[in-house]
Amino acid sequence: MDPRRVPRAASNPIVRHVGFFAPGAAPDLSQSGPPDPTSSSPPVSNFSPSSNSLSPVMIPPPRLLSTDVSRGSPRGPPLSHLHAARAADYTSIPVGSYNPSEFISPTASTEFSEDLISTKRGLRSVSGKFATSLPARGFDMAAVKQKRVLNLDPDVIGFVFLEKKDGETNVEERRELGPVSGKTLKEKTTKAERRAIQEAQRAKKASDQGGGGKTSAAASGVNSANANKIVKVVPLRKDGSMVAASEKKGGDRQPDKDRKKDVSHPRTRMQFDDENRVEKAKKRSVVKQVEVKNRVELFRHLPQYEHGTRLPDLEAKFFQLGPVHPSVYKVGLRYLAGEISGGNARCISMLQAFQESIRDYTTPPEKTLIRDLTTKLNCYVSFLIECRPLSISMGNAIRFLKTRIAKLSLTLSESEAKASLISDINRFISEKITLADKVIVKHAVTKIRDGDVLLTYASASVVEMILSHAQELGKQFRVVVVDSRPKLEGQKLLRRLVEKGISCTYTHINAVSYIMHEVTRVFLGASSVLSNGTVYSRVGTASVAMVAHQFRVPVLICCEAYKFHERVQLDSICSNELGDPDAISRVSGRKEINFLSGWMKNENLQILNLMYDATPSDYVSMIITDYGMIPPTSVPVVVREYGRENLWMQ
C-alpha cells in the first residue's frame, strides 16, 4: 500500500466514490475544450435555458451560434469547424477528450474578426446542396404564410434553417414562436438580453460590411425593434447562390492575421463535408489532394483522396521544401506510400523524424525556443496529417513531446534544451513502446497453455512477438491467422510464423464463424483503447471479437498503455479513416472479375473502404498492457493514474 492510501484506515471505512471522479477541481467551463458541445464563452452560457422560453428576443452573440446549431440540428457538421476554431482559442492545455487541438499549441489566440464569423454564418453549401442558416431573430412565424420551410429550432435560438434539396423544399416546423410585442420586450430585457441585442447589432453591422448588401438583407434579419415585422425571405434558389457568392468574397478577404494563425494551428479534426473549409485547407496544404467524388453519405466528414495523385506530386516538391524538415518530409512520404504502417512503427518513425529535426534546429533571433519549436512542430504535424491522418497513439506521442517542450526550463541553453528533448524522445520510445511490448509479451504468454488454439486477426506486431516468444518457451499450440481483403496483412504474419515453425491455419474473415469453435483464445492488437473500454482497431476486429464472444472464447487485446485515450467513442463513424476505394473494388491480377472497372465515377456507386472499427468492451475479456492484465473497465484508471505521469514524466 502506498502512502496515498494511508488515510483509509481500518477504524473509519470510507464508502468511496465509485466510478469517475476528477482528482482535482472540475475544469473550468471555458477550459473544457472542444469536445463538449455546450462549452461556450462564459457570458453567454446563461442564455441557453431562457432560449427555450417564448421570447424571440433571445439573441445569442454569434459565437454561441455555432455550438448551438451543431447541437440542435442534424445539420451540425457544417458549422462545427467554427466551433472547433473557437474552442481551440479557449483551450490552453486541453483536458477534455481526444481532439486535434491537443496537438495544437496553446500559443497566441487571435480573435476571429466579427465580420469573418458573420459571413461564414451566412451560408454554407453542403456537397452541392444548399443549406443556409439565416439569422431570423424575432421572426413572426405566424405571419410567414409561405409553404416554405422554416425549420425553427428553439435551440438554434432565433435561427432559421433553410434547406433546399433539388429545388424541393421540405416543410418542417418544429416550434412556432409567438409574436412578441415591443412592450413585453421592454419589460423583459435583462442584462443578458441587452447584451445579446448589442452583439447582434454588431454582428449585423459586420455582416453588412463583409457580405455586401444582399447578404445583409437576408442574413441580418430583424432586430428587436421590429420584431413584429413580417420578414419576407427571398426565394431560396436565387438567394442561396447569391449569398454563397458573397460568402466566398468574405472568405477571401480573410485578414492576414487569421491566415497566419491558420498555418500555425492545423485543425486535425477537420470536417470534410464542409466544402469551404476543405477549400481553404487545400490552399495552404503542401500535398496536392484530389478528393474522391462519391463518398458514402455517413462518412463525408472524413477525408478521402484519390489514390496515387498525391505521391508523385509530393515527390516532385522534394527540393522546394517549405518549412518542413527533410526527415519529416521523408516520413510523410513513406506514410503516403504506405511503406510504414502499424501503430508502433508509425509512431516511432515520426518521433525519430522529430528528433532529427530538433537536432538541426536553431532558434531564430528574437524568438524563444519553446514557442518557436512548438510552432515548427505544429507545422510538421499538419504536414503529416495531410499525408495520412494521425493515429491516437501518434497524437499521444505528440502531446507528450509538446508538454516536454513547454516544460523546458527557460534557463537552459539551446543545446541543452535540444539534448534534453532528444533524450526524452528516446526514453519515450524505449519505455513506452519497446519495453512495454516486452512486458506485454511476458504477461500474455502466461495465458497460453499447451494444446491451445490461438486465433489472431490481421497483423499486430505485439501478437507476433507473443506467439514467437511462446514458441521459444516450448509451448505446444496452434495458430489460426484470420485475414481480410484488401490489405491481406495476415499473409505477412503467416509467413513469419510459419518460418519460425509454428503450426498455422490461414483463413479469411468470412470463415471466422466456422473456425471459432476450435479456438481457445483470441489475441488481437489495437490501434487504441478508449476510456469506455472500446477497442479501436483494424476493421474486422469487431466482427472477430463478436464471434469469439458468442462462442465464449476469451478475447485478449494486447495494447501498450501509451495508446490509451480518455476519449469515449460509441461507433466507428465519427472518427475513422477512409482507405482507397479502388482497393476493394478491384482485385489486382484478376481482370475477369473486375466488374466495377470504370464505374468509379458513377454517382450511384459509393464505395466504402473503412480502415478501423470500434469493438465494444462487452466483447473484450481482458486488455494486456504494460501495467498488467486489466479488464476493459479499468482503462480509465490507467488513463487517470498514468496519463498524467506520461505527460509530466520527469
Binding site: D2, P13, R521, S621, M622, I630, P631, T633
Partner: protein, 390 residues
C-alpha cells in the same frame, strides 16, 4: 478438539489414498513442486487448513460442539503462541506462519502478515537492503509453501508493498527505519484483522427485515455479517447449502442456530429450486481477482448463474487482502486446488473424480463486493489493485 478433528481428516485422507487411484489424476506442476513440503500432495494445503479449522462435520463432532458452546477455543493457542513467538527468534517463517495459522479465527493472510512482521523483528540485518532481501525471501518461501492459497499470496504481496513502499525510510538511520517498518507491519496486521468487523458494518444496510439470504460454504466474514445483523435485531432467514464435500454449510447452520437465526439447510443441488424464495445470495471468497470476479468454493459459480438468471443480487464479502493480481480467463485457468471427495462407497479406479475445490465466478454475475475498502462494484477491484500494486 480441533486437533482431533484435523487428525480425523488426515486419517480419512490416508484411506482415500488407498481407494482412489493416484495416477488417474494428473498432478499439476505446482503441486509436484511443493510435494516436498506438503505431506499429502493430493490435497491443497489451503484446504487442509480449512478442514482443520472448520472440520468435517461429523455427528460426534457436533455433539462435542454442542457441549462446548461458549468455549473460546483460541485463547489457549494464542497464549502459548505469545510466549513461543518471542522466545525463539531463529524460527523459520513457515513454522511461524503455521503457528499463527493454528488459530481458527485468524485468516491465513493475517497469519502470513504476522509471520512476516516477526521476521522483521527478529532480523539480524544491518542495512535496509539486507532487510528487504530477507523479507522478500521469507515471503517467497511462504508463497511457495502453499501456491494454492490465494489469500496467502495476496497477503504476502500486499504486505511487501505496504512495508517497503515508504520514502521516509531512506532518510532515517537503520534502527529507526526498522522500528518504523515494524510499526507499519503491525498497523497493517491490525487493519487486516479488523477488516471483518468493517465489512460486517458496511453490509448491514443491505440486509433488510424479512429477507431471505442464501449462503454457500463457510466463510468467517459472512458469519460475521450475519452475526452482526442478528445482534442488531434484524429479522431474516438464512438458507445454507450443504457444501459438499466438506459439508461446511452444516457448520455454518450450526453457528447460526446458536445465534437464534432461522436456518434451513439445502442440498447443493436444491439451489435453483429454492431461488424463488431467496432475496439475496451472500458468499465469501478465497480470492478476489483482477477482473472483479471471485474464486471461491466449488458451487459458487453455479449459484451465481442461477441467481443472475432470476435477477437476485449476489453479494460477496471479502477482505481487501484477498485481492490478488491474477486474471483467470476461464475455470481451468488457475492453479487447481485439489481436495478429496468422500463418496461413501469405493469408486472404481477407472472412474475419474473431479477433485477441484473451487471455481471462478466472473464479475458479470456479481452484484457488489463488501470489502474493508468500502462497498465496491466488481469493476472497481481492478482499480484498487492497480493503485495497490503499481
Amino acid at each position: 478438539m480441533w486437533h482431533r478433528s484435523a487428525s480425523f481428516i488426515i486419517d480419512r485422507l490416508a484411506q482415500n489414498e488407498n481407494v482412489t487411484n493416484p495416477d488417474s489424476r494428473p498432478l499439476s506442476s505446482a503441486s509436484t513442486v511443493m510435494a516436498a513440503d506438503n505431506p499429502n500432495p493430493q490435497v491443497s494445503l489451503y484446504y487442509q487448513t480449512r478442514a482443520a479449522h472448520h472440520g468435517v462435520v461429523t455427528s460426534d463432532w457436533l455433539a462435542q460442539a454442542q457441549s462446548a458452546v461458549g468455549h473460546h477455543h483460541d485463547d489457549s493457542l494464542s497464549d502459548n503462541y505469545a510466549s513461543s513467538g518471542e522466545e525463539d527468534k531463529k524460527i523459520s517463517v513457515v513454522d511461524e506462519f503455521n503457528n499463527w495459522r493454528q488459530q481458527p479465527d485468524l485468516a491465513e493472510a493475517v497469519a502470513a502478515i504476522r509471520a512476516l512482521s516477526s521476521v522483521i523483528r527478529s532480523s539480524q540485518a544491518t542495512t535496509m537492503m539486507e532487510l528487504e532481501i530477507e523479507l522478500k525471501r521469507a515471503s517467497d518461501s511462504l508463497k511457495a509453501w502453499d501456491t494454492t492459497s490465494i489469500s496467502l499470496t495476496a497477503g504476502c504481496d500486499l504486505f511487501m508493498r505496504y512495508v517497503t513502499r515508504t520514502s521516509a525510510l531512506e532518510y532515517e538511520d537503520f534502527g529507526s527505519a526498522k522500528s518504523r517498518l515494524i510499526e507499519r507491519a503491525e498497523k497493517f496486521g491490525e487493519i487486516s484483522y479488523t477488516a471483518r468487523k468493517i465489512i460486517a458494518m458496511l453490509s448491514q444496510d443491505f440486509i433488510f427485515d424479512g429477507c431471505t439470504i442464501l449462503v454457500h460454504g463457510f466463510s468467517r466474514v459472512v458469519l460475521e455479517v450475519l452475526r452482526t445483523a442478528a445482534q442488531t435485531k434484524k429479522l431474516f432467514r438464512v438458507f445454507c447449502t450443504e457444501g459438499r464435500p466438506d459439508r461446511t454449510g452444516l457448520r455454518l447452520s450450526n453457528e447460526l442456530a446458536k445465534l437464534n437465526v432461522p436456518v434451513k439447510l439445502l442440498i447443493d443441488s436444491a439451489v435453483a429450486y429454492s431461488m424463488d424464495d431467496i432475496d439475496m445470495v451472500f458468499v465469501g471468497a478465497d480470492g478476489v481477482v483482477e477482473s472483479g470476479g471471485i474464486i471461491n468454493m466449488m458451487g459458487t459459480y453455479q449459484i451465481a448463474l442461477v441467481a443472475k438468471s432470476m435477477n437476485k443480487p449476489v453479494y460477496v464479502a471479502a477482505e481487501s487482502y484477498k485481492f490478488a493480481r491474477m486474471y483467470p480467463l476461464d475455470q481451468k485457468d488457475m492453479v487447481p486446488a485439489l481436495r478429496p471427495i468422500d463418496f461413501g462407497v469405493p469408486i472404481p479406479s477407472k472412474v475419474e473424480v473431479e477433485t477441484s475445490a473451487r471455481d471462478y465466478t466472473p464479475p458479470q454475475y456479481l452484484t457488489l463486493l463488501f470489502t474493508d475498502l468500502g462497498v465496491l462494484t466488481p469493476s472497481v477491484v481492478s482499480d484498487e489493485l492497480i493503485q495497490l500494486y503499481l
